[in-house]
């Protein structure tokens, strides 16, 4: 069975690194993997998505179909809502309890939407935590993305893969330890 995962967030939140580590981990462990990113304007505050599809058999399309995602990991609350169309009935959502207002909100044209978590919970099995706060507890606010990756790993039962080795290969040496801890924090939060 092909598994479908969507990582969604805002430019600069580290979705691309998280999806890179995830897809290499899956590929190294014998899965066929396809990953697709749309990141054209991401550095300018736009919305960013990574589609990841993996299977023990062959994977054809790199793009998740609407209504087919097993899991959506949202690095920002409103982004979870934006991509909710992709979720399977009874699919899961991991959502970072973090609000990043876009320019229509900062400029006062629109309000940041209320009750997003309630809306999400009405449709899906939702795990919520503040990854930014958890990252600060580890002493490095930049590992929020890896905590969210850890939670994904927990949700998809991928804990048997040696993620520590991958972090050693893909992260600067001085940040390896804090990233390893971040993965574990994420896995715990997924429980």
């Amino acid at each position: 069975m092909t598994k479908n995962i969507l990582l969604v967030g805002v430019g600069g939140q580290g979705t691309i690194l998280a999806s890179k580590i995830l897809s290499i981990g899956l590929a190294n462990n014998g899965y066929d993997v396809k990953m697709s990113e749309i990141h054209g304007m991401s550095q300018r505050g736009g919305s960013v998505t990574s589609h990841i599809r993996y299977s023990e058999d062959k994977v054809y399309s790199p793009v998740v179909e609407l209504g087919q995602a097993d899991l959506i990991v949202a690095f920002e609350k409103m982004e979870a809502l934006r991509y909710l169309d992709y979720l399977k009935p009874n699919g899961k959502i991991v959502v970072n309890d973090c609000e990043i207002p876009g320019t229509p909100i900062t400029s006062g044209t629109c309000e940041y939407p209320q009750n997003i978590l309630e809306e999400l919970k009405a449709h899906a099995d939702v795990t919520v935590f503040d990854a930014n706060k958890e990252a600060e507890k580890l002493g490095n606010s930049k590992v929020a993305n890896i905590i969210l990756l850890g939670s994904l790993i927990g949700q998809m039962n991928l804990t048997n893969i040696n993620w520590d080795a991958l972090l050693e290969e893909n992260v600067k040496p001085q940040f390896v330890e804090v990233n390893k801890k971040a993965i574990q924090v994420g896995i715990e939060l997924a429980k």
Binding site: D85, T103, G108, T109
Partner: protein, 597 residues
Amino acid sequence: MAQKVLMTGNEAIARGAWEAGVRFAAAYPGTPSTEILENLSTYKDIDAQWSPNEKVALEAAFGASVAGGRAFASMKHVGINVAADPLFTIAYSGSNAGLVIVTADEPGQHSSQNEQDNRNFARHAKMPMLEPADSQECKDMVKLAFDMSEEYDCPVLIRVTTRVCHSKSLVELCERVEKPIVPYVKNAKKYVDVPANARIRRVEVEKHMDALKVFSNETALNVVEDNGKKIGVITSGMCYHYAREVFENEANYLRIGFSFPLPMGKIAEFCKGLDKVYIIEENDEFIEDAVKMLGFGNIAYGKYAPDGSRFFHYCGELTSDVIRATVTGQAFKPVDFDRTKIVARPPALCAGCPHRGLFYELGKRKNVVVSGDIGCYTLAFAPPYNAMDFNCCMGASISSGNGAQKIFNKVEGNDKRVVSVLGDSTFFHSGITSLLDVVYNRGNNITVILDNRITGMTGHQQNPGTGYTAQGAETVVVDIEAIVKACGVKNIKVIDPNDLKAVKDAIDWALACEEASVIITKYPCVLKKFSNIDKAQYPNAFKSKCAVNTDKCIGCKACLKCGCPAISVVNKKAAIDPTMCVGCTVCKQICPVKAID
């Protein structure tokens, strides 16, 4: 076992070119093609360069091929328009060492101004074309394209799309095959395109295209997957994978990897005996027209059904859900929820963007028409600036501005002045000839060159003004002001765009000039990794932060008009996000009560 690694299509194209023994590669950045040359530039055996534009890149690659080195050029789909002039004639001249050109098309227009289907260029320019569907095929087909270019003595076009370029899949790596430089032999009859020679080459083109028609029917690149069904799917590129998800083993497939000339015999053979054939291709009816020409229109469902009604959607991507909805009438049903809560997240000029000051000031002017160009600064069309009236393509800001100003000047009592805005890289790309047009033809529009010291929009590629090559070598820093002067412009000002008074004064000065004028706003892009040159010129850039004194702030929201994403309103007072602010001070200069320090 050979090593398998996850690669994007763009990485795999670069790897394929390297493995094929490429010596020379040239490109101009453009989404989704940019990373091809970025990756090529990491290989030491390749001379990889950013050219000022796509035409120059292709001409440089052609020269390298004629001189005997395997040569490569890549560009986005609209880049081929710029390179069309050499493209059509190179098709006649052919290659000495292999010459391969990549066009990266954008079904869905994720980052582009149009959705043109460059498969039409293969037919139009008469050159063979390959369409890889995943990263492994990208690598394999690039290598094959080089062999084919040499065997048939013609340039070969490879057409990829955004999803091929930016998707990752597993690729088996091989070693580089060193191709010796082919000895150069002067051959004017082949390479000098005077009519007498070109007429002979014209015949040669038909000869090798005839040979390639035979090849197309025989090659394993055009492959039938016979599942013994009465329903068939003909498709190419990424669409094969989308279709495979929907039809699985319930259809026969004709998968076209070599798509010009199309395998007409194979298509006819495939269609015989089918009840229904779906033609699944993004953008134009390239394969569909061939199927219909062969007489299978009565069973063919492509952009049109047999009765002439629309079938598959004519624009955008034909992802699996789109195909599923069209063919079965029902896609997987997404959950039903309240979509009205979702607020758009449009891209915005970054905090610290050096374009902000200019567009803040221009947006306030009532008597100006802004002629825009292609770059981050195109975002100035949106609120809060609303400071752009039209744009078209690379370099057009100045030339279109010239035409517009000439008409405004004919209107009695009209005081509209046209301000053309374009970036440094866009000026080098094709703005210089446009500026010559203004000066030579006695135009009087105002040009602003937003010199942020880098090619920003596509993710920071070097250009002739930065002092470095694609491969990091130090080189000449081309002086924009000197070029402007050499074009014959008499009125030139170079300003710091973060100094709002300087910006305002420069605009007033330009509006008062009766002749053409040029303002160069010079300040590095906030996202740029500073070179040694930048560090020396801008030692204090982006090293401070602004903060709001809430006791002084009156909540007037004047600062929001600069459109900085770091500024928001909290409890009716302005607030600046310290993690985003880099201290450009534009908001500080706007604040009427001096509440920002």
